[in-house]
């Protein structure tokens, strides 16, 4: 097991290396050249020349890449044009909001998606199954920001059940510990603050959850259908095991393997999907920040975002692979 983990960690090296090359290539294909990523659009020519020299843009590409890597490793991504503060600082402040939103959305998607997919598979070919399949296809086809609009218009504006924007009501006087608002409330035992933050999370999380929910439903359904036809399920039945044992230990346990992998994949997609949802709900995470950055051509921010999401994505996949090896003994041997 330890050997597997080490090997898997070593495999990260070429992946991260490849990512850095892609990022470097991206930087060099920006309109205005790589210095655009360090310069405000309004920068003077003198300033531009200064930055070019500082970046060593006249040196060979390989030297430039080395320099670029040095900065990456130190997480030095420059300052945001819009706010003038270092990009990493901006992300540090906003990232918890996005993580909180993503986690809640994922919990919703998993808790609703797996049971629904399972039930649909058990009722394969009946009306319930058909409705579930159609519904999940529809879920994939709804642009999440539009779902955000609708949820907001109905449940926040019209019915007033949920707040329509922000992470917490302004009048809530909460102590900040971790910047994860829900967690902060729990840590400081300010239950109101925690609940209030959770309340703000529900609508955007539902909107964000729609796509992973739909995908999890379909994957679970397909996977359960496949496992139900497996010989070992028949063996379990032939042993006269109780229905719950057959379902839990033999069907679900095996059917969950591909779903677990997809959950990791979806979480990465969610982090970037949060961009769209957060914009709708004016949620103070990296999503809203990024939307602004796109319209302002704030390259340092964009590069930082791409890098961070990509690295997180790689790490999530690593975590998924490791958990997979716990769930499936066959992987460890390979």
């Amino acid at each position: 097991m330890l050997r597997y983990i080490v090997r898997r960690l070593l495999q990260l090296v070429p992946t991260l290396f490849g990512l850095s090359i892609l990022l470097f290539a991206w930087l060099h294909s920006l309109p205005g050249g790589p210095e655009a990523a360090m310069l405000d659009v309004r920068a003077t020519d003198a300033k531009r020349a200064e930055v070019r020299a500082a970046l060593g843009l006249d040196e060979p590409l390989i030297v430039q890449y080395g320099r670029f890597m040095k900065r990456l490793v130190r997480f030095d991504l420059g300052d945001s044009f819009t706010t003038g503060t270092p990009v990493m600082e901006e992300f540090g402040r906003r990232f918890p909001a996005t993580v909180e939103l993503t986690v809640v959305a994922m919990i919703i998607a998993i808790c609703a998606g797996i049971p629904l997919g399972y039930l649909a598979a058990r009722r394969h070919g009946r009306i319930f199954d058909g409705l579930t399949v159609t519904g999940s296809l529809l879920g994939i086809c709804i642009p999440i920001f539009f779902l955000g609009f609708i949820l907001k218009a109905i449940f926040a504006v019209k019915l007033g059940w949920f707040p329509s924007l922000g992470r917490q009501d302004v009048d809530v006087n909460a102590t900040r510990v971790t910047e994860f608002y829900v967690l902060d409330g729990i840590l400081t035992q300010e239950w109101d603050a925690s609940l209030n933050a959770l309340w703000h999370l529900i609508l955007p999380a539902i909107a964000l959850a729609s796509i992973p929910f739909a995908i999890i439903v379909r994957m679970t359904r397909a996977s359960v259908l496949e496992v139900l036809g497996e010989d070992y399920v028949r063996t379990a039945e032939a042993k006269g095991l109780r229905e719950n044992t057959v379902r839990g230990r033999h069907v679900l346990r095996n059917a969950m393997l591909p779903v677990v992998t997809s959950i990791g994949l979806l979480t990465g997609g969610l982090l970037s999907g949060a961009v769209l949802t957060e914009t709708v709900f004016v949620f103070g995470g990296i999503g809203s920040f990024l939307a602004t950055a796109i319209s302002n051509r704030d390259y340092p921010v964009l590069m930082g975002f791409i890098m961070i999401i990509a690295v997180i994505y790689v790490l999530i996949n690593l975590a998924v692979d490791l958990s997979y090896s716990v769930l499936d003994p066959r992987v460890r041997v390979r």
Binding site: L19, S29, T134, L137, A222, L302
Partner: protein, 316 residues
């Protein structure tokens, strides 16, 4: 990264199988499709969508750019005329006929979908086809080229597509062409992996072994047998990819990457523009959104049904 890749690989393997009884895989699949009401719904939606897009200039009752009701609109109080005779769906925030914009907009959406898919398909097919051909034709060196190409491909596949699209779009600047290319780029690794996997599955099939045994040249086998037979899962993916492209394009437009063009309305841009009237005129968001959803659903229904019809494990 295996959930996505598993799905692709599974699809790729399917062509290598042939149904019993002499009927080709596609014959069987088509028979099954015709009996599937969801697939037929999808096909009808697609047909209608394409017809509307083609006939748009004749169907649209008004010039989509003409601001007919400008005098009545009081944006500050949020008054925008709703449905009435002459403007069946009302007008948008600038007084342009909503229905006409929707109808003309179908052209852009179709264009975005088709161009993005074609781009992803062509580039992906070249990449995947090359990779597969290298693997099949050039022995050990070929295997090396293949594994390096696929390493990069899997990496690109691992990057969330919206992120990939955003990075491409920042290089190219705003505009509809940007959206097409950005969305197309996200499809390249999908098609590449699919085609390569499909070719690989084909190359292990019996008839290829038989041709090899009969001394047919490798290049001939690849070009005459493997490549044509590897195409069916690619067609399924292309159908699904049209849906993804239309939805993703809407997302990019929403983020302001689509640009705005009064003469050429686009559903995603319309949806993005409707944001400012959201509180008072939700319908302006609903119309283009419903158009996007129905169209995407049409392609998804048909694509998924095709996949299911091809996959023996899913049909019991």
């Amino acid at each position: 990264m295996s959930a996505k890749t598993d799905r692709i690989d599974r699809l790729a393997e399917l062509t290598a199988r042939k149904d019993e009884g002499g009927h080709g895989l596609w014959y069987e699949a088509f028979r099954r499709l015709r009996r599937n009401p969801l697939a037929m719904t999808g096909a009808v939606i697609i047909l209608l969508f394409v017809l509307i897009a083609i006939l748009a200039p004749w169907l649209a009752p008004h010039d989509p750019a003409a601001q007919t009701w400008l005098g009545e609109i009081r944006g500050a109080e949020g008054f925008i005329p709703g449905p009435r005779s002459g403007n069946w769906l009302g007008v948008d925030g600038l007084g342009r006929d909503e229905l006409s914009r929707l109808i003309i907009g179908s052209r852009q959406s179709l264009l975005v979908g088709v161009v993005a898919t074609l781009l992803g398909f062509t580039a992906g097919a070249i990449l995947g086809g090359l990779s597969g051909a290298f693997l099949g034709m050039f022995g050990k060196a070929g295997r090396w080229v293949d594994s390096i190409l696929m390493r990069f491909n899997d990496m690109a596949l691992a990057v969330p597509s919206l992120l990939l699209a955003i990075s491409v779009a920042t290089i190219l600047g705003q505009g509809l062409v940007t959206v097409m290319i950005a969305v197309g780029v996200t499809q390249i690794p999908v098609f590449a992996r699919l085609l390569r996997g499909s070719m690989l599955a084909q190359s292990h099939s019996d008839y290829v072994l038989a041709s090899t045994a009969l001394g047919v040249r490798k290049r001939r086998i690849v070009l005459n047998h493997i490549l044509p037979n590897s195409m069916s899962p690619v067609l399924v993916q292309a159908t699904l990819s049209l849906a993804t492209a239309i939805i993703e394009a809407a997302g990019l437009s929403f983020l302001g990457l689509g640009g705005a063009n009064a003469a050429n309305p686009e559903w995603g841009v319309m949806l993005a523009d409707s944001q400012q009237y959201l509180a008072t005129n939700l319908r302006l968001a609903v119309y283009p959104a419903v158009a996007i959803i129905i169209t995407a659903l049409g392609f998804t229904l048909l694509g998924e049904a095709m996949r299911e019809a091809l996959d023996p494990k899913l049909r019991k």
